[in-house]
């Protein structure tokens, strides 16, 4: 089985499409913030120490920790 790719694996400027979440509780928060399956997600920038990261989804910008980003599975 190939390891799934998550938002945490993206490079700056790289895009992906959200297809699933691995953590139920975090996913509820993410949904409320507008990260929906099928949405295009782009890694916009990283904080100076590489974490947290800043992503663009649905035309606005969210920041989150890598741990949270790694629960968003993309294709």
């Amino acid at each position: 089985m190939t390891p799934v790719k998550t938002v945490a694996d993206l490079r700056i400027g790289e895009k992906g499409v959200i297809c699933d979440f691995t953590d139920e509780e975090t996913s509820l928060k993410l949904l409320e913030m507008g990260c929906l399956p099928g949405c295009e997600i782009e890694l916009d920038c990283k904080a100076p120490f590489g974490d947290p990261i800043c992503i663009k989804v649905c035309g606005y910008t969210l920041s989150m920790r890598l741990a949270e980003a790694s629960t968003i599975v993309i294709s």
Partner: protein, 696 residues
């Protein structure tokens, strides 16, 4: 006159507070929601010649499923309506430039069955981003009154007022059919609690453990019911949110057209390249911090002097008006000094919150949290802890109140626990006196004042100790708490003067009334302790001073000093002397330590009384008389070791009743304030002990 109850609800950054300010002007009251210290902002707005509205500004929330204290307040307010009177109208403030996500909350609120008006804000921003709305179509799709507003310049506020006067009908069409996913549970809860909407019943089923309106028995019944029907709260919420977005998607399709959007985002992004840069980012942050400190200290000096002069004059007038005696002393020493101790901080608090409001409004604060998160995390703190910690430099009380934006309870608690270690402005007078005793007034390299450097070193030491304590608390509390740092990165905006001004007024009011009450009460108690004592002892003290060769003033000062020694406070100082001797303190310092529990800066006034300088808060004359004190061998009493030990004590000890009170309220119990008091006292005692024993 008819009075309506109106509540404003919306996402964070949707412009709710600006709208609230426009609706109510300065007719605002800040109270507390029951049980929590989340500010409850209410105000009165005149809608028309015959209708007034009581408006309540609910905290910003992304959804009605609460995840933070702020969001819990919104949930409680909405469910509270089952027992008490309901709001007549809910105004949902929607940011048009983030339309889709903002509508999620709207659909939830509407399904709850309240009369709803949609206030569509930031259409101008949306237009710039290339979003066009067909408002008529939107009104038709959502089936609620829609008012276009601009909360930044007040446009549309009159139209909103007009819409509030017209009756709003609750329309039954709903975005999410609760009865289809949990029919039996919903219908049972609906009939048992007489709820008028399916969705409110479902919400109770989800959140019954967290709500305050149900009794334990009712909670138990619902728990059993939920278990019986295998309702998985999380997955149910997940599906609900998806279905709502689907419904929203269908609406948006019909009412909004999207062009390529870019310009503004790009501008913001370029700015972010510098502001969150590895090097420049931190440098800019440091420069901004430096500017804030400079201006807090430099600009507030003058108004603080005015306050001091004003009280000085007032005390003078009262001294002349009233005959000498307990009444006069009580008014001057007990009440006025306490009042002065409160008011003196207002300039600094006002400046600090002006800066914080500007940084928050502009969107810069989110960047600071973003940059600092990784650095704070090993200590059990988060990027969001930075604002409270910085605010702690002015006063721990508003700083601790600012922690409520931290969603994770553990992170919030640790932030509350370590914030009082940050040197607050009450420590400044103490530092000024003691550093003057400890460090010579010389210059290094021609430009740096050695005392100034020492002052900075003490600030840094406080900050460092806060981090160390946070780390210990983090390890001690353990547990693998789920922490969140998912937050919106707002685009940069110009701060609005009106909002900054309201924020300042709000914070100053909160401080004056909340902390002020306690400070004045303690001030009065301490006055009693320091004025009265066992009768015989007090008389003896007065008789022991001979009038020979003394001016009236010097005589009175000597008597005051002797009486203080004989008073209850003095006796207590002597009582604890054995305990503080290893730190290098005598009973006189013991008295100051006790009185300082009202507020640290009381130290200066107490020292003045003890060393018979007379009734003065002037730091220089107090420092001079302390310098002249001799120990039993005729050497200088306040050696560098003693002064340093005392400095460390004041740096670390929790000598602040107001802080204890606010921590009690924020953590809803005595456990954490007591732990905080104990660990900070230990830190203070241990570090003073080590320092004194090493350097004496």
């Amino acid at each position: 006159m008819k009075r309506l109850k109106v509540a404003l609800i919306g996402n964070p950054n949707a412009g709710k507070s600006s709208l609230f300010n426009y609706l109510t002007g300065l007719n605002q009251k800040i109270g507390n929601f029951p049980g929590v210290t989340v500010d409850k902002k209410t105000g009165v707005s005149v809608l028309s010649s015959t209708v007034q509205a009581d408006i309540i500004d609910l905290p910003g929330t992304y959804s009605i499923y609460p995840r933070s204290v702020d969001e819990q307040v919104v949930f409680d307010y909405l469910t509270e309506t089952l027992r008490n009177e309901t709001p007549d109208i809910l105004v949902v403030v929607v940011d048009a430039s983030n339309f889709k996500r903002n509508l999620l909350l709207f659909t939830q609120v509407k399904d709850l069955g309240f009369p709803v008006i949609l206030a569509l804000n930031m259409l101008d921003l949306a237009k710039k981003d290339g979003l066009e709305f067909d408002l008529l179509a939107l009104q038709r799709e959502l089936n609620v009154p829609i008012v276009e507003i601009n909360a930044r310049n007040g446009k549309g506020v009159d139209a909103l007022k007009a819409a509030l006067v017209c009756p709003v009908h609750v329309v039954p069409d709903i975005f999410y059919k609760s009865s289809e996913v949990a029919g039996p549970v919903v219908s049972y809860i609906r009939s048992r609690f007489k709820i008028k909407s399916d969705y409110m019943a479902l919400l109770l089923a989800h959140q019954h453990q967290k709500t305050t309106i149900l009794t334990d028995d009712e909670k138990k019944d619902i728990s059993e019911l939920v278990a019986k029907h295998h309702l998985q709260s999380n997955s149910l919420q997940y599906r609900e949110t998806l279905m709502r977005y689907e419904a929203i998607h269908n609406v948006i399709h019909k009412v909004m057209s999207e062009d390529a959007r870019q310009t503004k985002v790009r501008w913001s992004k370029n700015l972010d390249k510098i502001i969150t840069h590895k090097v420049w980012g931190y440098l800019i942050f440091l420069v901004i911090l430096f500017l804030i400190f400079q201006s807090i200290f430099a600009w507030s000096e003058l108004p603080m002097e005015w306050i001091e002069l004003g009280f000085g004059a007032l005390k003078g007038v009262i001294t002349n008006l009233l005959p000498s005696g307990y009444l006069r002393d009580f008014i001057i020493e007990g009440i006025l000094s306490g009042l002065q101790g409160v008011l003196i901080f207002i300039p600094q608090i006002a400046f600090l919150f002006a800066f914080i409001a500007i940084l928050e409004e502009s969107g810069y604060m989110s960047r600071v949290m973003f940059m600092m998160d990784k650095i704070m995390r090993p200590f059990g703190l988060s990027g969001r802890s930075v604002v409270p910690l910085i605010s702690g430099v002015a006063c721990a009380v508003p700083a601790i109140m600012a922690t409520r934006s931290i969603e994770t309870w553990k992170e919030r608690l640790i932030t509350i626990m370590v914030t009082p270690l940050i040197s607050c402005s009450a420590r400044i007078p103490v530092f000024t006196v003691l550093i003057g005793l400890m460090i010579p007034d010389t210059k290094i390299l021609g430009i740096f004042n050695l005392q100034g450097l020492a002052l900075m070193a003490f600030y840094l030491l406080g900050f460092f100790m806060a981090l160390v304590s946070a780390w210990f608390l983090h390890k001690w509390m353990g547990g693998n708490f789920k922490t969140y740092f998912i937050m919106e990165f707002p685009t940069y905006k110009l701060p609005r003067f009106k909002n900054v001004a309201t924020s300042i007024i709000e914070k100053v009011k909160t401080f004056t009334f909340e902390a002020g009450k306690i400070i004045i009460a303690i001030s009065i108690i301490l006055w009693v302790l320091a004025t009265f004592g066992p009768k015989d002892d007090m008389q003896k003290a007065e008789d022991s001073i001979s009038k020979n060769n003394l001016s009236t003033e010097a005589y009175e000062n000597e008597v005051a000093s002797a009486k203080l020694e004989a008073s209850y406070a003095g006796q207590f100082g002597k009582f604890i002397e054995p305990g503080i001797r290893p730190l290098g303190y005598d009973w006189k310092i013991g008295i100051a330590l006790i009185t300082s529990f009202a507020a640290r800066e009381v130290f200066v006034g107490t020292m003045a009384t003890i060393y018979s300088v007379g009734n003065t808060d002037d730091e220089l004359s107090v420092r001079e008389s302390m310098k002249n004190q001799k120990d039993e061998n005729g050497n200088m009493f306040y050696t560098s070791a003693r002064a340093g030990s005392l400095l460390l004590f004041y740096l670390f000890a929790l000598q602040c009743m107001s802080t204890i009170a606010v921590v009690y309220r924020e953590t809803k119990g005595w456990k954490w304030p007591i732990i905080q008091f104990v660990y900070m006292s230990f830190l203070a005692y241990a570090s003073s002990f080590i320092f004194y024993q090493l350097f004496k």
